[in-house]
């Protein structure tokens, strides 16, 4: 075998080296492997072709399926009337959806299965070959097509009347602009989006408040092992953009044993007696990170399993997040309530164009 192959390539090489081969060099290689076109397998008649009883039965099945479809459509209409959604009961919604859905399913599947069964068991059954043909048309067809374009150009004057043509192209280019402007309107107006993404509602002196009641939190309320879901005080009273602000300002407040807390030297003053506050917005794609384990001090993001170590300034210990969660510097005011020392010192949440 190996020898044969070898001689085959030699022949091919020899052929190609001669400038004018009698046959294409490829044929010399593949000739020994070529096989006969086996043609169609022998035609096997279906049972419906041979047995009139079976044919009758198949016919019955097909029209029964179509009748079932009619029944399904009628039932869907009837179900819409019989099971109205007018009451405020969710159970009624379920019945309405269920029975209309069953009717529509029967209507569609009846037609589909009927048509396929009809084609498979009763329609003309013979094997055919659909030959491929070249994609390009004959030279005459191509010339005729070119002529159509040339005639159209001549008759319309598209090339000759350049002003009309260029103004039309201009109109088509300007046409999508309103859509662009309307989409731009969805973004904040007259404000720098980078500024908006970099700052939250937290200011120096803003009290930390409970989500959702908005009640301020005393440092003494936060017992060991607690986790408080925090919003800035005053967020509940916002008229506009409450959710936008909450999405940036949400904070998780935890109290650890101060012995367990390993703080960066420059952040020594950011916590209060083991109480730390971190942004709840994941630095990966912005899910709320709030699965806090009070013994391991790990925070888990439920979306992509990023883990942050609260005891070690929320550094990433697992998962796709790249930055630690931003820390909110906190202190205690005269009345014992927890307050923010300032806004977050870095933008919260995921990366954007100007922040990596």
């Amino acid at each position: 075998m190996a020898q044969d192959d070898h001689s085959g390539t030699e022949i091919a090489a020899a052929d190609s080296s001669h400038a004018a081969p009698a046959a294409s060099p490829g044929t010399a290689l593949i000739a020994p492997d070529s096989f006969e076109n086996p043609g169609f397998p022998p035609h096997r008649p279906r049972v419906t072709d041979e047995d009139p009883k079976r044919e009758k039965r198949a016919q019955r099945t097909v029209y029964t399926l179509f009748y079932l479809s009619i029944l399904g459509s009628v039932w869907a209409i009837a179900a819409y009337m019989l099971f109205p959604m007018e009451s405020n009961n969710v159970g009624d919604v379920r019945l309405n959806n269920l029975f209309i859905g069953l009717g529509a399913t029967l209507a569609l599947l009846g037609i589909g299965f009927g048509a396929v069964h009809w084609a498979k068991s009763l329609m003309y059954d013979v094997e055919l070959v659909d030959e491929r043909h070249p994609i390009g048309g004959s030279p005459e067809t191509q010339a005729a097509a070119v002529k159509v374009f040339q005639d159209a150009d001549r008759e319309s004057g598209f090339s000759r009347r350049a002003v009309i043509r260029n103004s039309l192209i201009g109109a088509l280019l300007v046409f999508p602009l309103p859509a662009v402007v309307l989409f731009r309107g969805l973004a904040p107006q007259d404000q720098n989006p980078i500024e908006l993404l970099s700052h939250t509602m937290w200011k120096k002196g803003t009290r930390l408040a409970l989500d959702p009641s908005g009640a301020p939190i005393k440092a003494s309320d936060v017992t060991m092992g607690s986790a408080f879901h925090v919003i800035p005080e005053g967020l509940q009273d916002l008229e506009h953009g409450k959710l936008d602000e909450k999405a940036k300002a949400a904070v998780l407040l935890m109290r650890l044993d101060p012995k367990d807390l390993n703080e960066l030297p420059e952040r020594k003053t950011w916590s209060y007696d083991g109480i730390v506050a971190y942004s709840k917005i994941c630095t990966h794609v912005g899910c709320p990170v709030a699965l806090y384990e009070q013994h391991t001090h790990h925070l888990l993001c439920p979306c992509h399993q990023s883990q942050f170590d609260v005891a070690n300034h929320c550094e990433v210990i697992f998962g796709p997040a790249k930055r630690p969660l931003p820390q909110l510097p906190i202190a205690v005011d005269d009345e014992g309530y927890l307050i923010a020392q300032s806004d977050f010192t870095e933008p919260v949440g995921p990366s954007f164009w100007e922040r990596h």
């Binding site: 096997r44 279906r46 049972v47 419906t48 969710v90 159970g91 919604v93 379920r94 269920l98 396929v116 498979k120 068991s121 059954d125 409970l210 989500d211 959702p212 939190i217 005393k218 309320d221 936060v222 017992t223 060991m224 092992g225 607690s226 986790a227 408080f228 879901h229 935890m254 709320p288 709030a290 699965l291 806090y292 384990e293 009070q294 013994h295 391991t296 790990h298 888990l300 439920p302 883990q307 697992f318």
Partner: protein
């Protein structure tokens, strides 16, 4: 006359003679149920008699139970060892939760203590709880009106979504945490145990004290969980309520499966 008298007697005899073959079994079963029921009634009667509140006798009984069953890990005076934390100040609620759900005594050290069949009677759990409560002040077992689910389910739902749903799933179906730990499902957990878990923060669950979630709000959360459990989802099949994993798996197997089956049927040659 004599004949008349005789015939009903005969009939009676015949009736007793033709007793149903299962009658003996039925009688036996009835007897067993009666004896068992009487015993149960008797034993609960004695238990109730014993369970007077926080008396010195209860605490002494609890101390004996503690030293026999818990001291190996928690130390003879519950001061804690390298194998188990100190229990001074955890309160009766923590013991009632941990022992009352079978998590303690622990079967083996692992990522977290697992729920298992309860090892003590209710009476013994109470004795242990009051013994540990006597060591230092801590949260007590909650009153019945806070745990019977008679609050505002809508308020409870909002609080549950903010404070609990990220770990326990919005329908209370539970979820995974890190390194083998998990937040358990809250279905079939009694209101008392849910309340105690919030107050004491068992295992890696954070503590939700009364300043964070007030007792009334805790009652509302329990009400919401009971509501979710008692009212089926209007969407039909819940598939465990665990979200996109179960639903995705279902549609991959059954949705794509039926598409493949239909495609095979359409392209197969008719018989």
């Amino acid at each position: 006359m004599s004949e008349n008298r005789k015939s009903p007697m005969n009939r009676q005899k015949r009736r007793t003679g033709r007793r149903h073959p299962l009658a003996t079994v039925a009688l036996l079963a009835l007897g067993l149920v009666f004896t068992g029921g009487a015993y149960a009634a008797f034993s609960t009667g004695t238990a109730q008699a014993e369970s007077s509140a926080n008396s010195q006798q209860t605490i002494d009984e609890g101390k004996k139970l503690f030293q026999a069953n818990c001291a190996t890990c928690h130390g003879l005076a519950a001061q804690g060892t390298t194998d188990g934390p100190s229990l001074v100040g955890v309160g009766a609620a923590a013991v009632d939760f941990q022992v009352g759900t079978g998590r303690m005594p622990m079967q083996m050290q692992g990522p977290q203590a697992q729920k298992k069949p309860v090892q003590f009677t209710d009476e013994q759990v109470k004795q242990l709880a009051y013994y540990v409560a006597s060591l230092g002040p801590g949260p007590d077992i909650p009153a019945d009106h806070l745990t019977n689910g008679g609050g505002d389910a809508a308020n409870g739902a909002e609080l549950f979504r903010i404070n609990c749903a990220m770990c326990h799933n919005v329908a209370g179906a539970g979820g995974a945490l890190t390194e083998g730990k998990f937040a358990p499902a809250l279905t079939d957990v009694t209101g008392v145990h849910i309340y105690e878990a919030m107050v004491t923060g068992p295992q890696n669950m954070p503590v939700f004290n009364d300043m964070n979630i007030s007792p009334e709000d805790k009652r509302d959360i329990i009400t919401y969980l009971k509501y979710v459990q008692d009212n089926r989802s209007p969407g039909g099949f819940e598939l465990g309520s665990i979200g996109p994993v179960a639903e995705g798996l279902f549609i991959w197997i059954f949705g794509l499966g039926s598409l493949v089956a239909i495609t095979v049927w359409i392209t197969a040659k008719s018989n």
